[in-house]
């Protein structure tokens, strides 16, 4: 059962301070409402993974790693590779993350990232078939949250796409009934460069890329994933509260604009500076 979450008590004073600042279009860390934090991306952080990226978004640290394997395809998609996204809210990242089976937050996070990649068709899964109905590539994208200062979703999408973007795929050859791994590799091809934009709402004001104290103070957040062609492939309101249709439309516009900028920064190393 899902149960009302217990957020760490933010002192009334701190919440009031955030309100006061927002009224003046200011934020606790000096950013303007629609300003993103600085992003650093370290590609290939884990050599044992076929692809990996360590992303720092302010103090939020997310490590994404891709493991490539061979698997039997699902019965309803015999010609498609398998993509599995798994997120671990590692307890060293925050006093609120507990060891144990995946929490609803981690399931929610991994499913949102999964949708952002899958629906945008960033990976052409039909290109990952080796023998139809029998052998396909499997891509495990493991998200490891190492330090939590808000906005895990956007950081995780960026980390996943970067890790996929440098993934080396071992080549296999079919020999009769057997499938043999060769020494050759090929690069996994990205068909899109989606970015997620997350907004935190407090009293009908909002900021993009909330830090942790903004997330805790907020009524709810809205995340929107934008493809390179400015279309949307995932939207999600998260948390209680209500949003007016007018505000949703406003966010769609914001996300197209902000998405362009973010894409350039987030995938600079993949694209050589061209988003």
């Amino acid at each position: 059962m899902s149960i009302t979450e217990q957020r760490p008590v933010i002192s009334k004073l701190e919440q009031q301070e955030l309100r006061r600042l927002l009224a003046e279009n200011k934020r606790i860390d000096g950013r303007s409402p629609l300003q993103y934090r600085s992003i650093s991306v370290q590609l290939g952080y884990v050599e044992k993974a076929e692809g990996s990226a360590l992303v720092e978004l302010g103090n939020t640290k997310v490590l994404a790693a891709v493991k490539v394997g061979i698997a039997v395809p699902f019965a309803d998609t015999p010609n498609e590779g398998i993509l599995i996204v798994n997120a671990e809210l590692v307890p060293l990242a925050s006093p609120t993350f507990e060891p144990g089976p995946p929490s609803e937050e981690s399931i929610f996070l991994s499913r949102y990232v999964d949708r952002s990649i899958r629906e945008s068709k960033t990976i052409d899964l039909s290109s990952l078939c080796i023998v139809p109905g029998r052998s396909v590539y499997s891509l495990y994208v493991d998200l490891y949250i190492l330090d939590y200062d808000g906005n895990l979703i956007d950081a995780s999408v960026i980390a996943s796409v970067n890790a996929l973007g440098i993934t080396n795929m071992p080549k296999y050859v079919v020999e009769g009934q057997a499938i043999k791994r060769t020494d050759e590799y090929f690069k996994l091809e990205l068909k899109d460069h989606p970015v997620s934009l997350t907004y935190a709402f407090l009293d009908d004001k909002y900021v993009v890329d909330p830090c942790l104290s903004e997330e805790y103070a907020s009524d709810f957040t809205v995340s929107m994933t934008v493809k390179s062609d400015d279309r949307f492939c995932a939207i999600q309101k998260n948390g209680g509260g209500m949003i007016s249709p007018r505000r949703v439309i406003e966010l769609l516009e914001r996300s197209v604009e902000l998405g362009k900028e973010l894409r350039t920064v987030a995938y600079r190393q993949l694209t050589g500076g061209n988003g």
Binding site: Q236, M242, I243, V248
Partner: protein, 242 residues
């Protein structure tokens, strides 16, 4: 996905004969269970869904309670026989996510500060699934809350809108859900002009999302009326009984 499924007939009607902005037949009944404090049953297309509410009651263990308001617990669950292939009764990752999404969509409707230190349990059981179960489940759960006599800021009804074969449609059925381009479930309260549930999967442009949003608002307003009728019927029955 990849298969050549046609979602529209030559006269522009959908696979089940509906127009683009037409809801499936809906049947709602409030107060259908004897043990639950509140309950409701909905049929929407072939969806058959029960919702029940227990509470407010003491929150145990105490450390889950909140000093200034009541907390909600919510379980969305599909019966093993609700789908074409039998589903394991253990909660799937999807069910865990939807339990959270539905709790978040219901919480802003409840006047939680009236019942500090208590808990309200909301159970949604999908007996038969036909696309749009989370939305139909929410529509029923809101009524179960009202039936339990829990003060609400307002009702909300939910409906999926989306895109199928290039067209924006309302209340997707199972086929449109599976083979369409996008699915956007929305819960809306017309009085407060507030969306409490908003998700989108698939691909839509900004303009398409806007168009879908507008269809959703009209559709949920229609459903809102059915909710009110169902509550009225419930209370008139009760009155007759007393």
């Amino acid at each position: 996905m990849g298969e050549n499924i046609t979602l529209f007939s030559e006269d522009g009607k959908r696979t089940d004969g509906r127009a683009l902005d037409e809801l499936r037949p809906i049947k709602i009944k409030v107060g259908v269970l004897s043990n639950a404090q509140g309950s409701a049953y909905i049929e929407q297309g072939k969806n058959k869904i029960l919702a029940a509410v227990y509470g407010p009651k003491e929150a145990l263990p105490k450390h889950i309670s909140l000093p200034d308001r009541c907390i909600l617990r919510c379980r969305y669950h599909m019966a093993p026989f609700s789908t074409t292939e039998r589903k394991s009764p253990a909660p799937s990752r999807r069910e865990i996510e939807l339990s959270m999404v539905l709790r978040n969509a219901l919480e802003p409707l409840v006047m939680t500060s009236l019942f500090p230190r208590t808990v309200i349990d909301i159970f949604i059981e999908v007996l038969q699934a036909d696309g749009g179960t989370r939305c139909a489940g929410l529509t029923a759960a809101v009524l179960a809350l009202a039936d339990a006599g829990i003060p609400l800021k307002g009702l909300a009804a939910a409906c999926a809108v989306g895109k199928a074969d290039g067209k924006i449609v309302v209340d997707l059925n199972d086929l449109e859900d599976k083979y369409g381009e996008a699915d956007m479930p929305i819960a809306y309260n017309p009085t407060l002009d507030g969306i409490t549930l908003l998700q989108m999967d698939g691909i839509m442009s900004k303009e398409e999302v806007e168009q879908a949003l507008s269809l959703a608002i009209t559709a949920t307003q229609k459903m809102h009326k059915m909710q009110v009728d169902a509550l009225r019927e419930r209370f008139s029955v009760q009155r007759r009984e007393t």
